[in-house]
Symmetry: C2
Subunit: 360 residues, 2 copies
Amino acid sequence: MEHTYAIILAGGAGTRFWPASRQLRPKQFLPLGPDPEEPLLRATVRRILPFCPPERILIATGAHLAVATRSLLPELPPENILAEPVARNTAPCIGWATRVIGRRDPEATVMVFPADHAVVDEDSFRDAVFEAISLAHRDTIATIGLQPTRPETGYGYIEVGDPMGHQSFWVRRFVEKPDLERARQFVEGGQHLWNGGMFFYRVRRLNEDLRAALPTLAEGLDRIEEAAREGNEEDALTDIFPILPSISIDHGVIERAPRLAVVRGDFGWSDVGSWQSAWELAPKDAAGNAEAPGALLIQARNNLVRDLRTDGKHRIVALVGVDDLVVVETDDALLILPRDRAQDVRLVVDELKRRGGHGV
Amino acid sequence: MEHTYAIILAGGAGTRFWPASRQLRPKQFLPLGPDPEEPLLRATVRRILPFCPPERILIATGAHLAVATRSLLPELPPENILAEPVARNTAPCIGWATRVIGRRDPEATVMVFPADHAVVDEDSFRDAVFEAISLAHRDTIATIGLQPTRPETGYGYIEVGDPMGHQSFWVRRFVEKPDLERARQFVEGGQHLWNGGMFFYRVRRLNEDLRAALPTLAEGLDRIEEAAREGNEEDALTDIFPILPSISIDHGVIERAPRLAVVRGDFGWSDVGSWQSAWELAPKDAAGNAEAPGALLIQARNNLVRDLRTDGKHRIVALVGVDDLVVVETDDALLILPRDRAQDVRLVVDELKRRGGHGV
């Protein structure tokens, strides 16, 4: 695994975890996965350490999040935090990060992971990653497709083709977010997997496929590359990054790649899309409560209680006779809503924006 | 009204308003009535100002609450805060306070009010008090009986007898807390009123009736009286108060009084017995929410939200899609429970006691 590198995409904003998530503390900084102490980004880094050491893990994030990201991951060399001057979707970001890796090691194999997803079964995750790396070594672009557990209409799907290995297949095609009827067929048919945004490739393979699919982007990256050789990468980024085509790596490159493989993954993956997902992932007591330490729950079931205050003061949080609630406290906000309305956090954020933006 | 004095009974502890009510901040210090800014005790004092000035209002409270009581009522002379060394129910307390008033003015007429009740229609309240004072001037002990609005099993009732005046009657008898069936009969029959613990009498009348009904108590009060004449009232209180018979003025004196009258009162009275009562009394918006200022309620109905934190920091309290909840924040606690389970606050207090008493 000596040529293996990772790019972790940690640019997300997102308001679905208000009041915990804020503009300067997006979801990947929050402990929303199975370990209520471990921020999602830290867990993502930890999970891939068996494949590459910290020196070969790069974090692509927004300039406004660079400082917080460095603080969260002090074991990474500072130069491994790649700060995009503006967000231009994933193709420019992954394209650039891949060039940075290529400069260090032209023979590198790259793994791309979103920073803010969760994994329950880490053994199975490692098996799938290992297989995906092997496929990348065979000069394909590989991805991990997640075994669907429900007819989800919010995800893209990958239709599998001929088998390639133990749990891997040629990709027949990528499918856009389906309607409910099609999503049901996908789950029953067994030929479709969720696209979880994880990609594995050799530097040369991606560079070649990107140039073929998105020549304008490739040229922009060439110019940044050139400036980098002259020691002016930062200036070039500021000038060029904002005018790169804003497109996702999936649509822009991966779907059009000539050699494309998928590993079937079944490891309790979650994109942690809402407080409801956080409750599903969290350790719970016999009554189904995912509690904040010291919370006092009496005749209360299936609640998620999170105390994210930072003032360190002890506070008694008492819930009596309430079920299926999300209760989240931060230093400056308290949210209460039913778990099955977790998506409606956006209503709060919208209203706060309407009132002038304080607390968003 | 120049001989009119008031005794306000402000000794209560009570945990039914946890986390707002605490041992050193019982219910009468909280703004639980129709005005969300006015503590119940202050409202009680304000309501009787038309009948007597602050110099003639005495507050009977526990020694541990004397300082807080003085701070809340700075317009009262400090010597009008009567601190009981220990709680011995209402007969010793009212008996003693009546002696204190008698020393100042042997012709005084005394009004007794609990500190922690609420009144919605203050005009009608004043009419009833005026009539009760008139009855006291006719050498009866008078009380105000509240027109019952529901078959309440938690209150004592007063059965009315022959009419005496505009809205007043001789008392036929006092009735202990009834079962639901009898309570229903009382409400339908129209001959029963709630006992709200308000009493009106001349000093001599009460002293005489108390001596006849509770001679031991009268003797104890004589000894305190004697010590007071020698300037040693405080020492005498410490010695004698704890051994006075612990009995209520209702059972011990009033019910046995020979001349007993009741004024029918119908002024939106409440003993503010729970967060549910507080919600009923509070001003509410069109969706039935009694909100804390600045709270953000979206598709939420009939909730009571109270922010009693004292650190002055702005905090966004957001409720989305929840109905009929009580949400109370203090500096060191947060309570969430359904309004119709307001009585179950005691479960929290019991559990806190079991855990060692912190936060009670």
